[in-house]
Symmetry: C2
């Protein structure tokens, strides 16, 4: 009995000492990032000197050179580019005009949805039918839709507390509107933006075609324009005239940019974010924030002289927004080379105050990470539960069964600016951005130490 | 044994049913506030139509009329004004000029600290000594300080994760700088603003005098100007010239504005925030946000037809910023009338995403509220611990032993804009503001039901 008690005491003493050491290391990581952090100034460069950087653009090429330089400056033992073919979607010039029954044509604020075909520079004009839901649309006959323009006036549900739930709910309209309308012979599809905003900012983002169905244009208008059109359609007929030049070009090669700290063994831990963005705004929260956080973790490990057990890879992924080819390519290569990926962490939900991690891994591993909650709590990070890792690391889970985690920042503001011209550097707060990098660095530290 | 088991089963069944009912009520409160909420539009009115509203100003008078009207529109059974004398501090015109040894005078961006005396419109000029800490200052002799201007270059500590900890640490300089410098015969005191900002925005806020020591002016400069002066003092002598007209006027009467929902009994639950602000910016986060949240709770209870057990009072307090007389007066009157105050909740830490409540009450009551955590967690509110309630409700705790609670919003952005010209409506996010009102309404609901 005495021996058992002694053993228990010893075990709990060891656990306490380790947890004490971890909390000291957590504090050191936080001090370095919160006080000497370079993430914010790096983001200023990426967003304001380079700007937006859709796959295949000159902006993406510049971002590639920039990321390679930054990973080297942060102290990577090795930096390399990994090539992947990417789709190239180009917006070009686009106009949308509105007319009421007896009115004159006036310009509206809008964006073509990403990957959408345009009108080839010709005017496409027609009467507008408004529906509030897909259910309403499905009740319309082909005759009612033929040659019409369909306005899907579905509102982002503000009753969801986590805005990603509202996004998952509303994004269906962005995805399927064009196919639905084309099936019934309509001219083009228009959606109320997938947006929590109280403003008139239109939100782009990918839409999907069905190869068996005619590819008609799909566009989005901001909430205020949508409110106005909703009002107008109730008091009479309205007409829209779209002229757009967007469309897909030939695929070309872009690059994942990868930096590495060599570990004591060859097992690999990944921290990743995507370097591409949509073609409007500056891609500041989506996902410049994630990119500079990933680079910041590398810099911090090097600055503090932390020698990891495993090899740490910091990946700036290509083409998350309209193809997800970068993430796919990385995982395929990892599988081909038979690399052992212990863990992958992604930041692609904005540079806001962190609140947790969503874990896509077996339950025993989830429980192991949940046991570290007391260490994370002083950093405002408490929501550590089963969930989705992220688009770019997802193929690692699928092909290599790698345990995945996604940073969960506060979600309240994200869908005000997501995929818009308003996703700019000034929307990012320095401390929030740094705190996100801090908890990511802490999680990488714990995984490296314990797995 | 069977009886005990049955009793246990019954008890747990009742607990489960109640918790289920509570979570349904939580959801209804959230739906009303997140979907139909009026807090954001009310804040737009208060900040953009009325603007800043320091005690004794025309702005405060307008805000009083506005709050009375809003509480009535929200459905209060009764609305009244409670008078209190308040200090009147007026800024007037102020300029600060800088000169290096061989340079010309140039204007600097700055603010006199609140309650500070000015220079009576005369130029007060002198050489600048910079110290980084009070410790450094204390080592200076009277001779070294006499007729000088002392620049306290103390930086906000960014290593604190909760910025209120950084504020508590740095605010000492704002409070004591003038007295310290006056004791050694300096001309005026200047501080690096108590600010997390990466910008040049100067932050005002109260300073204190000692009646036994000469009242010299105290001013604040923004972080960028402070960085520049720090650099300049290292390469040579610099001089400042202050001309200001600020100072205290005669006290006058202002009003707390109080709305009430009558309960089944006369016991009282308070939700409060302060209606006054500093004299720059719009007082949007500080504390327009709190005011509109408090009004929103009233509106929501009435809209949902919730008949409270106890009387609910919604208080827009006068004079929090530079005297705290409104809170003092309310508590004194409550004591005089022998009112029974069950609980008071304050929102005065910005309209950001809520994270918890800090509880200033006996341990058994803290534990009772902590037991409700699972109900609050879906609303991102997890940090429910012992702490400070708030300036305006504090006297209720002191005089009536009322249990107190303060809303804890995410603190990362608050001290970028606190007490500045940049504390404007556009800094407040609609969903964050509403979510704060939601969890406050939920807590009021639980207290009313259970206490």
């Amino acid at each position: 009995m005495k021996k058992i008690l002694l053993l228990l005491l010893l075990t709990s003493q060891i656990a306490w000492t380790q947890s004490k050491q971890d909390s000291v290391q957590f504090r050191e990581l936080a001090n370095e990032i919160m006080v000497n952090g370079e993430a914010y100034e790096n983001l200023r460069e990426l967003t304001q000197s380079i700007g937006n950087r859709i796959s295949g653009s000159v902006g993406y090429d510049k971002a590639t050179v920039w990321a390679e330089k930054k990973l080297k400056e942060a102290g990577a033992d090795k930096v390399w580019l990994q090539e992947t073919f990417v789709p190239v979607w180009v917006r070009g010039k686009e106009t949308l005009k509105l007319k009421t029954q007896n009115g004159k044509w006036e310009d509206l604020n809008f964006l073509s949805l990403g990957n959408s075909e345009g009108t080839n520079g010709k005017d496409v004009e027609g009467e507008v039918i408004m529906v509030n839901t897909l259910g309403e649309f499905d009740k319309l006959s082909e005759k009612e839709v033929k040659d019409k323009i369909v306005f899907f006036n579905y509102r982002f549900r503000q009753d969801f507390i986590t805005t990603f739930d509202g996004y998952s709910d509303a994004v269906l309209y962005r995805s399927v509107a064009a196919v639905k309308v084309a099936e019934k012979g309509g001219k083009f599809a228009m959606i109320r933006s997938v947006s929590t905003g109280v403003d008139d900012v239109p939100h782009t983002g990918t839409m999907r075609y069905n190869e068996q169905i005619q590819k008609i244009p799909a566009i989005a208008i901001g909430n205020q324009t949508a409110d106005r059109l909703e009002h107008l359609t109730k008091s009479g007929k309205i007409y829209l005239k779209l002229n757009s030049n967007c469309g897909m070009k030939e695929e070309i090669i872009n690059y994942n940019v990868i930096g590495e700290i060599k570990g004591k063994d060859d097992k690999i831990i990944v921290a990743g974010a995507h370097l591409d963005s949509w073609d409007v705004g500056e891609g500041a929260h989506d996902d410049g924030a994630g990119v500079v956080q990933v680079i910041e973790i590398l810099r911090t490990f090097k600055k503090l002289g932390i020698q990891p057990n495993h090899t740490l890879r910091f990946i700036c992924y290509a083409n998350e927004e309209n193809g997800a080819r970068g993430g796919e390519k990385y995982a395929e290569e990892a599988k081909r080379k038979n690399e052992n990926h212990l863990f992958a962490l992604e930041s692609d939900a904005g540079g806001f105050s962190p609140r947790g991690f969503s874990l896509d891994m077996p339950l025993n591993k989830i429980k192991e990470i949940q046991a570290w909650k007391p260490l994370f709590l002083p950093y405002g990070t408490y929501d550590i539960n089963k969930g989705y890792g992220g688009v770019d690391i997802h193929p690692l889970g699928r092909l290599l069964q790698t345990p995945l985690a996604g940073l969960i920042p506060d979600s309240q503001r994200y869908f005000d600016i997501h995929h818009t011209a308003a996703d700019t550097f000034d929307k990012v707060n320095k401390r929030e951005l740094q705190l996100g990098a801090t908890v990511m660095a802490q999680l990488i530290y714990m995984i490296d130490k314990n797995w």
